[in-house]
Structure formats: C-alpha cells, structure tokens
Symmetry: C2
Subunit: 303 residues, 2 copies
Amino acid sequence: MNALVTTADFLSRSAIEVEQALAESIPAEWKFPSQLREAMMYSVEAGGKRLRPILVLAAAEAVKGDSRAWHAAMPVACAIEMIHTYSLIHDDLPAMDDDDFRRGKPTNHKVYGEAVAILAGDGLLTHAFYSASQAAQRGVPAATVLEVVSDLARLAGASGMVGGQAADILGEQGITTLAELEYIHSRKTSDLIVFSVTAGARIGGAKAEQLEALMEFAHKLGLAFQVQDDILDLVGDEEKLGKPTQSDVQQQKVTYPYLVGLEESKALVERLTKEAAQALTRAELDKPEWLFAIAEYLMSRDH
Amino acid sequence: MNALVTTADFLSRSAIEVEQALAESIPAEWKFPSQLREAMMYSVEAGGKRLRPILVLAAAEAVKGDSRAWHAAMPVACAIEMIHTYSLIHDDLPAMDDDDFRRGKPTNHKVYGEAVAILAGDGLLTHAFYSASQAAQRGVPAATVLEVVSDLARLAGASGMVGGQAADILGEQGITTLAELEYIHSRKTSDLIVFSVTAGARIGGAKAEQLEALMEFAHKLGLAFQVQDDILDLVGDEEKLGKPTQSDVQQQKVTYPYLVGLEESKALVERLTKEAAQALTRAELDKPEWLFAIAEYLMSRDH
C-alpha cells in the first residue's frame, strides 16, 4: 500500500509541475484574441491525470539516469498534453460525440461556441509543434527534436490518433471483431502513449534496442489503460471516477467487456501489464523505477 | 506581355510539380480509413494557384542560386499547402463560414459530412509537420528544419493564421478601423506568405539581413495579395475568377474598398507591391528573377 501512496504522490507532484509549464507555454507577449487564448487555456486547465506528459518526463529520466533530463523534456511533455486536449475539444463537438460535459465542466463549445472551439483545437494542435520544437533551447540536439516532431505528427495524425477517431466514428455500431476494436484503441489511445515514452526515451538518449523495448512497453501499457477504462465504465465507482458509469452501455458502444466479457477483460489487463513490465525490464534502464510504478498504478487504479 | 506569359507558364509548371509531390506526400503504406484519406486528398487536389508552395520553392532557389534547392524545399512546400488546405476545410464548416462550394466543387463537409471534414482538417494540419520534418532527408540541416517547423507553428497557429480567423469571426460586422482589418489580413493571409518566403530562404541558406529583407518583401506581398482579392471580388470578371463576385458586399464583409474606397485600394496595392520589390532588391539575392516576376504577376492578375 505504501508503494501505491508514493506513486500517487509522485504522479500528483508531477502533474502540478506539468500544469505550471503548460500555463507558461504560450508566450504572454504573443498578441491574439483574448477569447481564443481563454478557450485554449480553459481546456488545458481542465485537469486530468496528465499521464502522457508524465510518461515523457519519467521516460527521459529513466533512460538518462539523471533528473536534468526532466527539464529538457518538459516542452515535449507540454506538447503531448496539448495534442490530447485538442483531441478532446474536437471529439466533444456536436458533429462528433456531441458531449455537453467533460470532467464535470461544460465542454469547450458549450462555453465558447462551436467556431471558437474548433479554432481553440486547431490552435492547440499547432502550438504542440511549437512547444516540441522548443526542446532544442534546452540542450536537446536538433536532430533528436526533429525525430520527436516527426513521431508526433505520425502518431497523432491520420496514421495515428486522427485515423483512430475516424475509424471509431465511421464504424460506430458496426464493430464486430476484436481486431477492429484493437485497431481503434491502438490508434486513439495507445499511439499517444507510445509517442510519450518514445519521445522521453529519445531525449534521454536511448539506444536502438532500448527504444524498441520501450515502444513495446508503451503499446502494451496503452492498450491495458484503455481496457481498464472500459472495465471501470462498466463496474467502477461513480464517485471515485467523477463521471457517470455505464455510459458505454447506454451509448451501445462496443467495448472489451462487451466483446469478450468482464472476466476475460480483467485477465487481459493483467496480461498486458505483465508483458509491459517484461519489455521494460528488457530495456535495461538506469532508473526504471517510476516507469514500473506508473504501469502498476494504472493497472490497479479505480478511477 | 511576353514576360507575363512566361511567368504564367512558370507558375503553372511549378503548380503541377507541387501537385505531384502532394499526391505522394502521405505514404501509401500508412494504413488508415480510406474515407479519411479520400477526404484529405479531395481538398488537397481541389486546385488553386499553389502560390504559397511555389513561393517556398522560388525563395529557396533565389537564395541558394542553385535549382537543387528546389528539391530540398519540396517537403516544406507541401507542408504549407496542407496548412492552407486544412484552413479552408475548417473555415467552410457550418459553424464557421458555412460555405457549400469552394472552387466550383462542393465543400469537404458537403461530401464527407462534418465529422470527417473536421478530422480531414486535423489530419492535414498534423501531416504538414510530418512533411516539413522530411526536409531533413533531403540534405537540409536538422537545425534549419527545426527553425522552419517552429516558424510554421508560430505563423499558422494562434499567434498567426488561427488567431486571424478567430479575430475575423469574433469581430464580424464590428470592424471599423483599418488597423483592425490589417491585423486580420496580416494574420489570415500574410503570415502564411511570410512563412513560405522565410522557409525557402532558410533552406537556401539565407544570411540574417537577407532573411529580414525577405520577410518584409513577403509581408508587403501578402497584404497586396489580400487587398487585390478584395478589389477583384468587387469589380472582377466572374468568368475569369471562377466564382461569383460581390460576395463580400452581399455578406456585408468589411474590406479595403469598403473602408478606403476602390481607387485608394488600387493605389495601396501598387504602393505595397513597389515596397515589396524594394525590399527584395535589398536582399541582394543570387537569382531573384522569379520572386520579382511572382510579385508583379500577383499585382496585375485578374483572377
């Protein structure tokens, strides 16, 4: 239990650091309509676990074995959180999932209107690449930053997250196989987690074999995270989750528990987490402790 | 007249080269929903002058004084056209300008639905950064490519084009001063032209003073281009333009002719073009001919 508390502390302290960096990430001297800035920051500041940026930071430190990697990786950590945030703003739009609330707050378009919400999303998506490029100002070699930029565009774009969202929307109600569901989950969720760990690893100076092992770690972790989300939506505690459960059932969404049953889904989370840990061991990192702790924490979480 | 024909030939030949590169720009082996790929390419292939990518290519060659710079600059040329295209898709959405037609074809959301159109825009915006990063595979130093990426994010994002679009939408009907109109035009149109020329110049290896002179050239050229658009909408030939004129008047849009009159607007285009040419001369480039020709062509165009 003590280890869990410590991991929770680590995560919440790290989340606060990320939030401070995010608050300063759009230069105050840049002049543009204040309502657009507000709309962008409204969603950035709406909270969440900040899991993806923390994975960037933890991976950088784990590979480098030096806490200075944390500082160097922060612009990229902010970038992935901006990508995640823009995707939520656009997913919530009336033409997409048409959601009125997100994390207990009205969604972006409910507050600022659809036009500004679309532009706030576009602005965050674009600014993510500005933020990522700033890692070069913190001693990360330009060639490494460029690899990170290229990864980000590939894994967040049509061949990654955007493609997953398109498949989800185009396939609604029509998903019948585990392979289709896994494609959507991989693209929508796992790809950004793969990016986060890979980017941190690159910044930390990972060797090719380490990168490969860490990508497998991240892919398995991302899938486990999504299956656990499906499980929590079905049997979780509404109060702990901070949102109503059974929403997937009500929306007739195809989920892992729906396709393979609850017990099988729980077994899958356990298996994926174990395989993730094995891949992590294979990477032979200098300071892998927090990555192990995050993986274990995510599996045992109840919200 | 002969010079004009030659410039027109140069532009149309260059546009074809850009279109060939665009057609290959999303790797065929990337797997994602075919409808998303179709929607992205539908708008990319919808035509247009390809002015921005041609400026990237022409600026690279002008600075380098060597046509090999053209090849090196192509991934960035494609990137700016993707940014321009995504902005048109999102601008046409019902929540924004609600346009049914663009260049004589149904708009993206009219063909693929709003959800896919939003994602096609997001996909193109994201892929622009992938494409730009690929310049490193063509011999452009990583540090230079990274500067280009950072410029693109700044000039296409909230502090640039996205901010201009937000100001336009938020200020509709409320624009009363030339300064406000110039802000919107600078951000919505001029910033991408500044990017194009600057990116080409960086790839061509421009010195600091050359960069500065070329940025002024591009900013003036971009403003002249937009004022000329306003003029053509008012007094142009519908057949040559390929779209109905007087749309600004009907939509009660605030334009340069509306604010300062037609004659004053024409004089402004002439003055801006002259100042642009002066800045270009100051840059002391090896092969500035095409940049001069493009500037002259844009001022004298009737469509």
